[in-house]
Symmetry: C2
Subunit: 370 residues, 2 copies
């Protein structure tokens, strides 16, 4: 049986995205039979003691990596960040007289707001639309109402490539963060958050599993009349086994946490790697004399999604075609904004980033701008 290793390219897709090779290799080895269990993880009851242990291990891996304090629940749900856009206001806002406040730093924050508006009163306390979401609020310039139901941010905007690299100081209202596209890229001071959610398909696993870390006092807010699946309390009380969870996705999240802990050496080391990888590309943009024009302002650049334009659409098309020939894939920008986007999540090796950087340099040189 050939394992397909030789045919793999460098995959810069924004998500679903590259996974750590050792994780894929273990999943492949075990796909017909989880050692000692006589069946595939895909075939195993979620009530089986072996699966309950897999779920506990994935949760423990996240707790250890993020140093999650007592007083928080970690949930494995379905429906992606899109369902969280609704579950957050349904659980924390609906039926209350308070207001939910939103910082809109890109396309995903806008979508989150739209869902919240259906469920209660919202207020936008900052919006970067006027500059096409190329920046974040100046530190200290935005303040939320201390009585707000919560204040929502998007830590990394995948489409525009801007990122909060530390928590903005917005005030005492519970901070809710869509961390879908940068979850686990650095240590996160969970105690600063009321709720962090992330679909897995960027840094944590495959599409189809969504991680929610919620402070226990917020679990009490939801009405008993929410649709059962949408109530965080149902899932917290049953330890993510209120219904059949996405078992294979949870298994892979567990393997990714083990990779981060034991092969990378923890999130501080992962953060250093991510700083180094993104620097390779941003330095190339900055040295290109305007041939590569980064979208984000330098101070707010994302370590996960490097977004840039070339002089014109034809050159961008040629760039993508030539990159594909060199086994550099998934570089096309989001269909809503165009351009180029290199997503360099945790699992993208530095060799892949270097190969892209070298190609960028050569391509620019060929076009007489080197």
């Amino acid at each position: 049986m050939t394992d397909g290793l030789q045919e793999r390219i460098y995959n810069f897709s924004a998500g679903p995205a590259v996974l750590p090779l050792p994780v894929l290799q273990q999943a492949q080895r075990e796909l017909l039979c989880l050692p000692g269990q006589g069946m595939s993880i895909l075939e195993m009851s979620h009530r089986d003691a072996a699966f309950v242990e897999i779920l506990a291990k994935a949760k423990a891996g996240l707790k250890q990596l993020l140093n999650i304090p007592d007083g928080y629940h970690t949930l494995f749900l379905q429906g992606g960040a899109r369902l969280q856009f609704s579950m957050v206001p349904l659980n924390l806002l609906k039926g209350s007289t308070r207001t939910a406040e939103y910082v809109i730093s890109g396309s995903w924050g806008s979508s989150a707001l739209k869902e919240a508006q259906r469920e209660g009163t919202t207020r936008v306390i900052w919006d970067g639309k006027a500059t096409k979401y190329d920046r974040l609020p100046e530190p200290g310039s935005v303040h939320s109402d201390p009585d707000a139901a919560y204040v929502h941010i998007t830590s990394n905007e995948t489409i525009e490539g801007v990122q909060f690299q530390r928590e903005p100081e917005l005030g005492p209202a519970p901070l809710v963060c869509d961390s879908s596209s940068d979850f686990l890229y650095r240590p996160l001071p969970i105690e600063k958050y009321g709720l962090v959610y992330a679909c897995a398909q960027k840094n944590a696993g495959p599409a189809g599993v969504t991680i929610v870390i919620i402070r226990d006092d917020l679990l009490a807010r939801a009405s008993d009349n929410l649709p059962g699946y949408l109530n965080y309390r149902s899932h917290a009380q049953e330890d993510s086994l209120w219904n059949t969870p996405p078992t294979f996705g949870i298994y892979l999240v567990g393997l990714v946490t083990q990779w981060l802990l034991h092969e990378v050496g923890g999130l501080e080391k992962m953060h250093q790697r991510n700083l180094a990888k993104s620097q390779l590309l941003y330095e190339e943009l900055d040295a290109s004399q305007g041939f590569y024009r980064g979208h984000a302002q330098a101070a707010n650049r994302s370590l996960m999604n490097v977004t840039f334009r070339l002089p014109d659409a034809d050159t961008e098309k040629a760039f993508l075609a030539e990159a594909a020939r060199r086994k550099l894939g998934g570089l096309k920008g989001h269909r809503s904004v165009g351009g180029i986007r290199a997503s360099i999540y945790n699992a993208m090796p530095v060799e892949g980033v270097t190969a892209l950087r070298d190609f960028m340099r050569e391509f620019r040189s060929q076009r007489g701008r080197g």
Copy 2:
């Protein structure tokens, strides 16, 4: 690399459940690299042309197997049957002056009703609770209101092991069916249904993907104010790409449909196999002189989940332990009812059922009841 084939047991789990071996083997071969794509299906963008084709192929496979007529949409969603328990009334009932009618033939129907009661007016037109859900309504004995918003049935009750083997004639209101635990076990006359839903983890694929087949006129009913993810129309308009779908699950559903079409030979042949498999076990119950006591009345027995009791709890424990030693796993009844449950879904080979039958015969003989 060992592929784990030799260690596999016969897995009678109620779900997640046994998958066809050729499907698992193909998924294992391709797990590091989908042929020609340079990456794993787990790493591929849902906007990639190759994934869009995988999704189209899974949909086409279902259309061919079930002969789905024009005028229906097939959707791949997340959240399991549990989320459908809410989505059905949110889309088809909420805000209307009409009543949704429910036939309660077991535990899952009860749970579906509970969620519907939150969203609008409901009426139970039959409930089998008085006889512990051991039977279904007599044909022709139950009639729904022609003006009902819809009438809901559960085609197979996994926990109790009773099954509608053909559509009950309830009247002209749209028939909505939770087909989670018997989807694809036989040809289904889709034109008799308004909506059929099924989580995949019994007959169609892994946990984490839910299939919804909905008649187009029902798509128009939902309010625009539903949470975005919960609106069937959002998903239908974007062909299940409104948000990132469970890509790996959809890929596996596609492989299962190919197995059914090309290795089994279609759903009529699958049905014949399922009739033969279940007959092996029910004949053994009936010949056991009361040692094995089936839960379901003979006329309403499930072809998917064979539920029975032994003389006492100790004997059941001994049965499960001895079965495990013979590599017959997952036979413990649902925690809510106890006893033994042999789930013999599509992918359970007749050899597995024969092995169980032989063990049952031997076990009874050892206990002096042979």
